[in-house]
Symmetry: C2
Subunit: 414 residues, 2 copies
């Protein structure tokens, strides 16, 4: 009989109460120890992972998922390196966000504090286990990790290793725990643990995120679905536009900040379409086009769904729009609110696009691929929020905190 | 057949797209016009309210609720004054929260933007209609208002008046709308309108808030339940402690920042208990005490539930604790995370209490009654958040915004 979520969460809460008070020095030493533990437990982790991989292969898991599940020397070194990088980042806890002395002499300050207990729900990528544990530890949060059951042996080995490191530096080992139970019912328990778990972060594909958002009573930070657009304006430098479209689409296709849709101003269509179609097709991209694009060879007609599709592959939807307003309307209708880019030489077009497009990140003359915590200089990133509450865009360490007001008087009453 | 929530929300979205771009000058002029409209429509609003009050009286609504439902000259003037005060506050939209130039020359800035469409669910207090409309307008959000059906005539009259004002200053009247339909099913529709409504804010009692939190798929900002504690430490100035306990409990009992529980360090119990019991009882407060308190006349024994109860009345639970650690443990077990106060002369006790008590506001030597947007100098307040995501403590205008990143390059690709 596994522990219930309330038992696990109660241990997390007790650990979180201790961790919230830990100094940066203690947390950083722990992260370094965690990194070393992963390397010294390398063989155990690889063995556990091999068992997961065999079972997944026997169950017929697709090759690209097996690839994400599989750990090797370089991936484990990458996990350790990630923990060390988090140790190098500033402590997000204890920052004074604002402060003032009120007219009556009360001293007011708003200070960042950890959330407390954070749940992370993710797919069969065991490296997320170490990444999420490191980010949560540094931000003072106890974490409850719910990976895919197909990675359970790997995750158990990694968590065992990390917990040893916690004990070594004197922090409660329950700062890092796996969620109890298996299957959807167990996930559901975690999603209904309001009051026990402070925040849930789903990391994974659209289906996982939608199910967490729909079913959770715990506050959720929604991450990661990106139907990103590049709009090539009438005033664009077409060489620049070509480079940005290609980079946004083909630099890496499986990620949420890759472009999925191309919009081109009618005034430059005659010039730009032959060049962009040729360049995309040279890069093996299938274009799902409107009537203007299907005039070119091997462009397939876009279906209604294509405009809303996050392909995550060498596919892109593409349309010609009569003007900037129509581009903004199209984006409003179809974007997932992740990242949209305009390519333009016009200051007024850039100003209008950045003001009217309501997405987490709006780019001018830059590839959508720059939406990334690392690129933004935030260091570690636990995901990219596409919701408007709490945090929007790349989630760095500061976004992993809440705040409280501390008010100091000397006998003040109303 | 009333409009569906999707029809109403679509109109709100269109209005929000325009409102998001409105200048502060336009928004402030609109707020002033809204205030004037309420005063010139005074008779219509009073008539509509009289119909609600008669119906509520016929239906046997309790007197204290009738009192909240009833509008008179001074309440309508108060609503108008509230709108004018919001006009006087800084615009929360367009603030640059952070910005930098990245190593590759990309210019990054994070700018506050409106949420878009905000739903506010509240009880039979028609003044909330104008307050919420004003705060949402100033923060650039279209609002969908869902008051109690028992206030529907009043709310309709107020919203009609406010919408006239919007038209007068050229903003879309759909910046302010009532939610369609009646009864719990209609509320449920609003709570499930994820994607159509960006944020829901319930304003009201514990039951209302719990039901919104449980049922909503739209992100919620939880407000208002306060089981606030005052802890009198061993090192307290007992005169100061007496004043703070009395003020926290009796200054106004029906509000979420009033104290509901008193904890006293054992070392000062013999000195302090006779004085605090006498003072509270003089103020007609019923003390629900532990064994130490029931040694005094007319103190009733506390039940298990009393420790978790937000009385909102002249009642207080009271216990003696062996030390500061026990006080913190008690607060962790029973607090709703709103406001807790310590009375102490000890710097180390104050430091420990403010570090270890995880509530939206932690007071040292001050009354819990100071947790308030007005007292904190925030101006208008739409509630006090007791959740950890997005905003915690009094919700001022800045908390009514999201943000987006604007990234400017000159052809940057990865």
């Amino acid at each position: 009989m596994p522990d219930s979520i309330s038992q696990v969460a109660a241990r997390s809460r007790a650990a979180a109460n201790v961790l919230a008070l830990a100094t940066r020095a203690t947390k950083d030493a722990t992260l370094e120890t965690m990194a070393s533990a992963l390397l010294s437990d390398y063989a155990l982790i690889i063995d556990a992972n091999a068992a997961d991989v065999s079972a997944a292969e026997a169950a017929g898991m697709p090759a690209h998922m097996i690839d994400r599940l599989r750990l090797d020397r370089s991936r484990i070194e990458g996990m350790a390196q990630g923990l060390r990088e988090v140790a190098g980042l500033p402590d997000p806890v204890g920052t004074v966000l604002r402060g003032s002395t009120l007219a009556n002499g009360l001293e007011l300050r708003q200070v960042t504090v950890p959330f407390g207990v954070v749940g992370v729900i993710y797919e069969a990528r065991p490296n997320v286990t170490a990444d999420a544990a490191g980010i949560c530890l540094k931000s003072g949060n106890a974490v409850i990790l719910r990976g895919s059951s197909s990675a359970l042996s790997s995750n158990t080995a990694i968590v065992t290793s990390l917990r040893t490191a916690l004990t070594d530096t004197g922090l409660p080992e329950d700062c890092v725990q796996l969620a109890p139970g298996e299957g959807h019912d167990a996930v559901k328990e975690l999603m209904r643990a309001r009051g026990l778990v402070d925040v849930l972060i789903p990391r994974g594909g659209a289906g996982l995120i939608r199910s967490v958002v729909e079913e959770s009573t715990v506050p959720v930070i929604e991450t990661g679905v990106g139907n990103c657009h590049v709009y090539v304006d009438a005033d664009a430098d077409l060489e620049m536009a070509l480079a940005i479209v290609l980079n946004s689409k083909t630099h890496r296709t499986s990620v949420c900040n890759s472009a999925e849709s191309l919009l081109v101003h009618a005034d430059v269509a005659a010039d730009f379409l032959p060049r962009v179609v040729a360049a995309l097709q040279d890069a093996d991209v299938t274009i799902h086009g409107d009537a203007a694009f299907t005039a070119y060879d091997a462009v397939v007609p876009a279906t209604d769904e294509d405009w809303d599709t996050e392909f995550l592959s060498l596919d892109i939807s593409a349309a010609v729009v009569p003007d900037l307003g129509a581009a903004i309307e199209h984006i409003r209708a179809h974007s997932s609110g992740h990242t949209e880019a305009i390519v333009t030489g016009s200051q007024s077009a850039a100003r209008r696009f950045t003001a009217e497009v309501d997405s987490a990140v709006v780019m001018v003359n830059a590839s959508t691929r720059f939406t990334d915590g690392g690129e933004f200089g935030f260091g570690a990133e636990i995901g990219i929020s596409t919701q408007k509450l709490h945090a929007r865009g790349p989630l760095g360490l500061p976004e992993m905190t809440s705040s409280k007001y501390i008010v100091i008087g000397d006998g003040h009453v109303r």
